[in-house]
């Protein structure tokens, strides 16, 4: 096998880890609350700026800043639910999607207002690992490992704890669980906090590899939605697999053609697959 192709494939797998983490958060919210946060990538962007600001302007250590950013985005998630979703929970689902779309503009412009349109980064340079002739960025490997750990932690939480079980139960049948004495409002708030927290974690991992700017959400936001839909909105394992499928398409096509061509192909594959199997690839 071509050594550069192998490198592209490995990079694709590493990218898939972070995309999977993003898709998990979005899927959790969709599965439980039945809304699409179209501004999800902008929450990630807010988290990236939080880490940047805390480390570069306030001089916090990176790990502490990351922890704070995760909490910050989790709080944002709660606010999104309380201020935007809850008042219109009863109206058409598309309205909830559009309301978070307004949030997308708001966060983008607020970031422009606060930080300008310059590209910012942590200023931390992590080493490159050499495996024979293959070069792997340590930042990407770290992001991949942490993303998988995050996904595993979420899985354990949902399957092993009482609260996690309640969340899954609400996802399966909202109305019945209300009758069983589960406080839906509380479950929704907790889910929003976890979804936000996952966005915050993804933000920390992305900032290791990419510069942050106000419009960064538009570059990976759409791809995250594609992954969720391909896996079946609300189906977390499907989303997890789809993340790796899409990231391989991007990595390998990017190697043979160009970055834009790879994204074009990923979106076209998405459109075609959805029109063939609208319920998602991995639904029963």
């Amino acid at each position: 096998m071509d050594i550069f192709l192998l490198e592209a494939v490995i990079n694709g797998i590493l990218l898939g880890g972070v995309l999977a983490l993003l898709a998990l958060g979005l899927n959790l919210i969709f599965g439980v609350i039945d809304v699409v946060w179209i501004a999800y990538a902008e929450l990630v962007m807010s988290g990236m700026y939080a880490v940047y600001w805390l480390t570069n302007a306030q001089g916090w250590p990176v790990l502490l800043a990351c922890a704070a950013a995760i909490l910050f985005v989790a709080l944002l998630g709660v606010l999104v639910h309380l201020l935007i979703i809850q008042p219109i929970l009863g109206s058409a689902p598309i309205n909830q999607l559009l309301a978070t779309g307004g949030l997308l503009f708001f966060l983008q412009s607020l970031a422009t207002l606060l930080f300008g349109t310059d590209f910012r980064n942590l200023g931390v340079r992590l080493p490159i690992i050499e495996l024979g002739d293959i070069f792997i960025s340590f930042a990407r490997l770290l992001a991949f490992v942490v993303a998988l750990l995050g996904a595993a932690a979420l899985y354990l939480f949902l399957s092993r704890t009482f609260l996690g079980t309640a969340i899954r139960a609400v996802a399966q049948d909202r109305d019945i669980m209300g009758l069983m004495g589960v406080d839906q409002r509380r479950i929704y708030l907790i889910t929003s906090a976890i979804g936000g927290g996952l966005a915050g974690l993804a933000a920390c991992l992305l900032l290791l590899q990419y510069d942050v700017h106000p419009f960064i959400g538009l570059t990976f936001g759409p791809i995250t939605f594609m992954i969720c839909v391909l896996g079946g909105l609300g189906n977390m394992i499907g989303g997890f697999v789809a993340a790796f499928v899409i990231s391989q398409i991007i990595a390998v096509t990017g190697y043979y053609l160009s970055i834009e061509a790879s994204y074009v192909l990923a979106f076209v594959v998405f459109i075609v697959l959805i029109l063939i199997r609208p319920q998602g690839l991995f639904s029963k």
């Binding site: 935007i84 689902p93 559009l98 307004g102 503009f105 422009t112 349109t117 106000p214 538009l218 839909v229």
Partner: protein, 322 residues
């Protein structure tokens, strides 16, 4: 109905008189309002029936680029280039809307499929940077005033053209409402299976309104480029502009004939006044307020500004309305 028609004609004449009095700056704003109103109206023609497309940037981009490319590389007049781009946009809409209607891709899924479509067109434009200039954009070759090249450097001339196109867009909306199509689409939006069971041809109704919407949007994109004499992927294609179209139409009121126009007036007036008030040092201030307002609109005024006003008027006794 006839009273509304007369009011419309009077308003149109009044608006046509504006170039005699206005400054270049005001004319520029007026042209932008008219062209965006036309595009927002084109979106709302289908959006009001629950066909919420987040990818109209795809059609706007085709309209923006195809005539300009044909003109620059082959000297083809926009009189041919624009119909070609409109046909291409309609074809693309057909290619996606037909299967989407077949397998009943609706709601979230429809929104996300169209979002992807917008991304595809934007990325193709960027990827073909050798001919489109990529993210830097391109300028159609300027020849001065020319009917053949459809270039009108004077703002007042273009203003009249934009006015005609805007009125044409409203006419298409009214024409759609005259037939049974609008009511059929409302029924489909309520309950697709029930609508099909009483004999409504769901496929035909949805495709018709989708193709018209895509074609008009492409026309709007083409006219923007003829007016600005510059085009780049960010302003005519991609997620940003696609969402801008959706939100302006919703803010104005996508269920009312003049709602999208109110949306264009509102958003452009807001942006311009905030820009003047804050100056350029506060890049982003305008959109921050705009974004917050959008959220509030969707929560408290889901039928938009005009829809809200209409609801207020309807509550009063009928005599007041005459």
């Amino acid at each position: 109905m006839s009273a509304r028609l007369i009011a419309g004609v009077v308003a149109a004449i009044l608006i046509a008189l504006v170039p005699l009095a206005a400054s270049d700056y005001l004319l520029h704003i007026a042209v932008q309002i008219l062209l965006w109103s036309f595009v927002y109206t084109a979106w709302a023609i289908m959006g009001r029936f629950g066909l919420v497309s987040l990818g109209h940037g795809a059609f706007l981009g085709i309209g923006g680029y195809v005539p300009a490319l044909l003109w620059n590389f082959y000297g083809v007049t926009p009189w041919i280039g624009i119909p070609v781009s409109v046909a291409l946009a309609a074809l693309l809409a057909l290619a996606v809307a037909y299967p989407a209607t077949r397998v009943r891709v609706v709601g979230h899924y429809y929104a996300l499929v169209t979002l992807a479509l917008g991304q595809v067109v934007a990325l193709v434009i960027i990827a073909l940077r050798d001919i489109t200039g990529g993210s830097l954009g391109m300028t159609p070759r300027a020849v001065g005033f020319s009917w053949f090249a459809l270039q009108f450097p004077a703002k007042s001339q273009f203003y009249l053209l934009a006015l005609v196109v805007w009125i044409a867009g409203l006419a298409v909306w009214l024409w759609l409402d005259r037939g049974t199509g609008s009511r059929a689409l409302e029924a489909i939006n309520e309950d697709e299976a029930a609508a099909a069971s009483i004999g409504i041809n769901v496929m035909r109704e949805k495709l018709r309104v989708t193709l018209i919407s895509a074609a008009l949007t492409a026309l709007g994109g083409a006219l923007f480029v003829q007016y600005l004499m510059y085009v780049n992927p960010e302003t005519v294609a991609g997620v940003g502009v696609s969402l801008q179209i959706v939100f302006a139409a919703i803010a104005g009121g996508m269920y009312s004939l003049l709602g999208p126009t109110v949306g264009a007036l509102f958003t452009i007036a807001l942006t311009e006044s905030l820009r003047i008030y804050f100056g350029t040092s506060f890049i982003g201030a305008a959109n921050t307020i705009y974004g917050a307002l959008l959220v509030l609109f969707i929560i408290f005024l889901p039928r938009g500004i005009l829809g809200g006003i209409e609801a207020l008027l309807a509550r009063r006794p009928a005599a007041v309305r005459g």
